[in-house]
Structure formats: C-alpha cells, structure tokens
C-alpha cells in the first residue's frame, strides 16, 4: 500500500509540470501549430472558395511546376551559395583577428557587431541608395576601382550578388562573436606544444584551430543557411523581387502570393514546401557535420 502516496505525488508532479507549461503550450499551439495544420489543410484542398474538395498532392505538383516557384527556388539557391560561405569565412577571419591582445578590442568587436542589432528593414533603405546606379556611392566607388558594378541594384544579373553583400554585412559580426566564443574553449597548451614542435601559424590553424572549431563551424553554418533561406527584409526594401523577378526569393514569393496576389492556397502550399526544405537542409547539415566533428 506504499504505492498510494507515491502515485498521488506523481499525479501532482504531472499537474505542476503542465501548469508550468500551460501558457507556452497554449501560445505555441494556438499561434504556430494550429496555423500549420490549417495551412496543411488548405494545401490539399481545391483553391476555389466554397468547394474545398480533396485534391491530394495536386496543389503541390502545381506549385512545384510553376515558373514562379522554379525562379524563386533558383534565386534562393544562388543567394544561399553566394552568401553563406563568404559570411562564415569572413566571420572566422574576423574572429582570428579579434582574438589577440589588442588595444581597442572592445571598440572593434562592437563596431562589426552593430549591423546585427539594427533593423535590416531600415538599413536596407540606405543600402538601396548606396547601391543605386549612377548616384550610389558604393557603385560609384566600384566603377572607379575598375570593378564592373553593372546597373547597381537594378541590374538583373547582379541584384542577388548585391543582396548577398548586404547579407554578409548584416551577419558577419554576429557569427564572429560565436567563433570568438569557440576560440576561447581551445586550451592554450595545445598551441604552446605545437609551437615547441616548430609548427608554423598555418599548420597551427590547420591542425588545431580548424578541427577544434568543428562544433562552432557546424552551428554557425546551419544558422547561416537557415537565415539565408529566409531572406526577406532587404529584398522587400531594396528590390521588391525585381527587376523582372530576378531577385525574388522563396519567402518573398510567399509574401507576394499571400498578401498581394491573395492566392492563399498557393501560399499555404509553398509555406509547407519551404518548411520541409528547411527541415531537410538542417537535417542533412547535422548529419554531415556530426560525422566530422572532433571531440577533445
């Protein structure tokens, strides 16, 4: 009969736990899970209002085959490939520069971090002007340096590259701080003994710093890819997806379909496609990095 108080204790513990969880579960359930279910529902039904008959995967096939989706998917892929490696590499380089005895270290660290705390939607207005053809300061400088700057942000061939530049500007300081944290966890003795063995700076980086930063690189890369896939604010402000949809990303297309063209069925289906893509990407990256990470 000793189980009685035990069972009652267990029941009250469960009750306490769910009381603690209740507000969060209510908010998440009502405003995240429920909309997801609604979106899934409308993604498998006919778009015509009132009819709503079951159409299975028809909407998915239609979206996947649509010219707009293929264009946005291609643009997003180009954007991710342009922006991610550069951001991660620059962040690592910056962290290595900042990880020294340095006068004004706090200032430099804060300076490169500032773009991450200010509104991208607002700073993109400045970028739009700096990168405009003719009167833009940055495009002008690029021309002067002999770098083909094209028609600035209005160039259909270069628009994505300029958006990627803004992406790097926005995120590099944030990831650099994460790399700095990673660098701080590497025991100093490793470098001392490597130094005694006559390893040069490159060898120390290649055989100590880089492998031991594996966890950080994995974390930063996953974050960087997910952030790049979700690009919206500066696209909205700087190009509006143009010219001729040359910079329309997936999330921008989602916004346009849902809130400008009012094609809710298309938007809901596209939403689930983006969701599954991000899920698959994160999973693939996790698998890739978990096999390569070095413990110590």
């Amino acid at each position: 009969m000793t189980s009685r108080p035990g069972r009652r204790g267990r029941a009250s513990r469960t009750l306490t736990a769910y009381a603690f969880l209740a507000p969060s579960l209510a908010v998440i359930g009502l405003f995240t899970v429920w909309p997801l279910i609604l979106a899934a529902g409308s993604s498998v039904r006919a778009a015509r209002p009132g009819s709503g008959e079951w159409v299975g995967a028809d909407n998915y096939v239609a979206v996947l085959n649509s010219e707009e989706f293929r264009n946005a998917l291609g643009n997003t892929a180009v954007y991710v490939v342009l922006a991610t490696p550069v951001t991660v590499a620059c962040a690592l380089g910056l962290a290595l520069l900042l990880n020294r005895k340095l006068a004004g270290r706090t200032f430099f660290r804060a300076a490169v971090f500032v773009p991450a705390v200010v509104s991208l939607g607002v700073t993109a207005i400045s970028w739009r002007f700096l990168l405009s053809p003719e009167i833009g300061l940055v495009t002008h400088w690029l021309h002067r340096l002999g770098i083909p700057a094209g028609n600035g942000i209005r160039d259909p061939d270069l628009g994505l590259a300029y958006l990627a530049v803004v992406h790097v500007w926005r995120n590099v300081g944030f990831y650099a701080v994460m790399y700095l944290a990673g660098l701080n966890t590497i025991p100093r003795t490793y470098y001392e003994s490597a130094h005694l063995d006559g390893a040069n700076a490159w060898q120390r980086f290649r055989h100590i710093t880089w492998p031991l930063l594996g966890n950080t690189t994995a974390f930063v890369s996953i974050l960087a890819v997910v952030t790049a896939v979700q690009a919206f604010d500066h696209v909205f402000v700087m190009t509006g997806g143009g010219p001729y949809s040359s910079t329309e990303t997936l999330v921008y297309l989602l916004y346009r379909k849902g809130f400008e063209d009012l094609e809710f069925g298309y938007a809901a289906t596209l939403g689930w496609i983006v969701l599954l893509m991000v899920f698959a990407l994160s999973l693939a990256q996790n698998l890739y990095f978990s096999r390569r990470v070095v413990g110590y």
Binding site: Y18, L36, S42, V118, V122, W169, M178, R188, Y191, F236
Partner: protein
C-alpha cells in the same frame, strides 16, 4: 590563445573593416543632414557642402513618429516581458520536473526551432482577422508570447544549475513555484537578461510581422512605417534617412550601453 600581440597590419585591417562596416550607418547620418539637391547627384560625394535640419522637421510632419515609437516600444517590450515569463516557466518544467509526455513536449520545442516563422503567416493572418485582432497590440504581442528558442535556451542554462540548492529547498517544504521564482530564475539572471535583449532587439527591428498585422499607420512600428513610407516617397532620400536615424538611434544607444554584456552573453551562452 589570446596571446599573439597584434602587429600594425592587424590594426590596419581592423580599421578598414570597421570603416566599411560602419559606412552605411555613417552615410545615413550624413545624408539626413544634407540638402536634398546635394544627395542625389552625379558623381556622388560623401561630404555635403551645407548642413540642414529640414529633413528632421519634415519627417515629423509627415509620419506619426512619436506614436510609432510608442507602438514599437509596447510591441517589443510586451513580447519580451511575456515571453521571458512563459519561456522560463516552460524551461523550468523541462529542466527540473519529471512527467509523462516530457519527451514529446521537448521534441515539439526542438522541431519548432527549425520552422521558418514566415510559413505560418498566411493562415495566422486568417485567424487574426477572424478574431478581429489586426491593428491591435494584443494581436501583435500574444502570438509571440512564447518562443521555442527561448524555452530551449533557458532549459539548457537551467540544466547547468546544481540541483542541491532546490533539493534543500524541497526538504524545507518549498513549492516548485517558490523554487522557480526564488532560486532558479534569480541564479539565471545573466541568461534571462541575454534572452531578454535578444527578444527585444528582434521584435524592435522586425519588419514582416508588423507589416502583415497592422494596416493603420497609427498602429505601425517604426521599421514598418518607414518601409511603407519609402514606397510612397522613394526619391526623397534626405527625408527617409532622417526617419532612419530616428529609428536606429535608440537601438544603437541601447547597444552602446549594454554591448559588453550583450556580446559576452552571446559568447558565453550562445553555444556549448
């Protein structure tokens, strides 16, 4: 390995990088003080010949900036306070209590971490207009009153606090509510503060969310108000830059004040 002293090359590199990074922000300030005719011209120049404050007077006439500032403060502040409370409660349950369904709840939190927030936007809009919550503060705030990221972040931190303290309190007959409020949360103050800064900055700066859920200019936040204003006054750059400076200034000032804690908060609690 913070040993290597920096040579002149490192300093030169850092100065150039910092200048490039700060360039758009510095240019924003300069352009806001430049007469319109001197901003848009070929060839473009960095420094204006004359200084004017006209843009600041004009933008205040054309946009309800004080109101939008208040909206942004209520929105970002409201989300931050509620989310810190709800996130920490959920994190306490996940870190300190054993109960059936714990793995399911934690799995849900992990899955939600990966969901791009834009995916739910369209159905959420339908729900919100059904509730008549468009253009209201609670409509802006409540859907963000709990975050998977916040729950995960605080759970990880709570797990690092030794259990001896709350075991002792348990023996003295303290309830879980008391342990949560008097022991676990106070000890976690640095993590809670860092998360609070994250929430506040993210929502203060967010564009898409207020763009979708407010349509009335008197309910817009500063970034949404300015982005929509740009759509109508695309060539008045001095005006836009004055608005941008007024929008960015509070955040930059706040960042200068707390930057040490903020940057270190990310460095220490961000990973590992």
């Amino acid at each position: 390995m913070r040993e290597t002293p920096a040579g002149p090359l490192v300093y030169a590199g850092l100065v150039v990088i910092s200048a490039l990074v700060l360039l758009p922000l510095g240019w924003t300030v300069l352009a806001s003080l430049t007469p319109e005719a001197q901003i848009a011209r070929f060839p473009p120049r960095v420094l204006p010949e004359d200084i004017t404050f006209e843009h600041y007077r004009e933008i205040r006439r054309q946009l309800p900036l004080a109101r939008q500032f208040l909206n942004t403060l209520i929105f970002a502040g409201g989300v931050t306070l509620l989310s810190l409370l709800f996130d920490s409660m959920a994190a306490y349950a996940l870190a300190r209590l054993d109960f059936p369904g714990k793995r399911v709840v934690f799995g849900l939190v992990l899955a939600l971490l990966m969901i791009p927030p834009q995916v739910t936007l369209v159905p959420l809009y339908e729900i919100m207009s059904g509730l008549d919550w468009i253009n209201t503060y609670h409509g802006l705030i409540l859907p963000r009153a709990a975050s998977a990221f916040g729950i995960f972040f605080l759970r990880q931190f709570f797990l690092t606090i030794p259990r001896d303290l709350d075991d002792a309190a348990r023996i003295d007959g303290a309830s879980h509510l008391r342990i949560y409020a008097r022991i676990v949360v106070p000890i976690s103050a640095p993590a809670v503060l860092t998360l609070g800064l994250f929430h506040f900055m993210y929502n203060w700066n967010d564009l898409l969310w207020p763009l979708v859920f407010t349509t009335d200019p008197s309910m817009h936040t500063l970034p949404a108000g300015l982005a929509l204003f740009m759509g109508k006054h695309v060539v008045q750059y001095g005006l836009l830059m004055a608005g941008a400076v007024l929008t960015l200034l509070p955040v930059v000032l706040a960042f200068v004040l707390v930057q040490r804690r903020f940057v270190e908060g990310i460095a220490t609690t961000g990973i590992r």
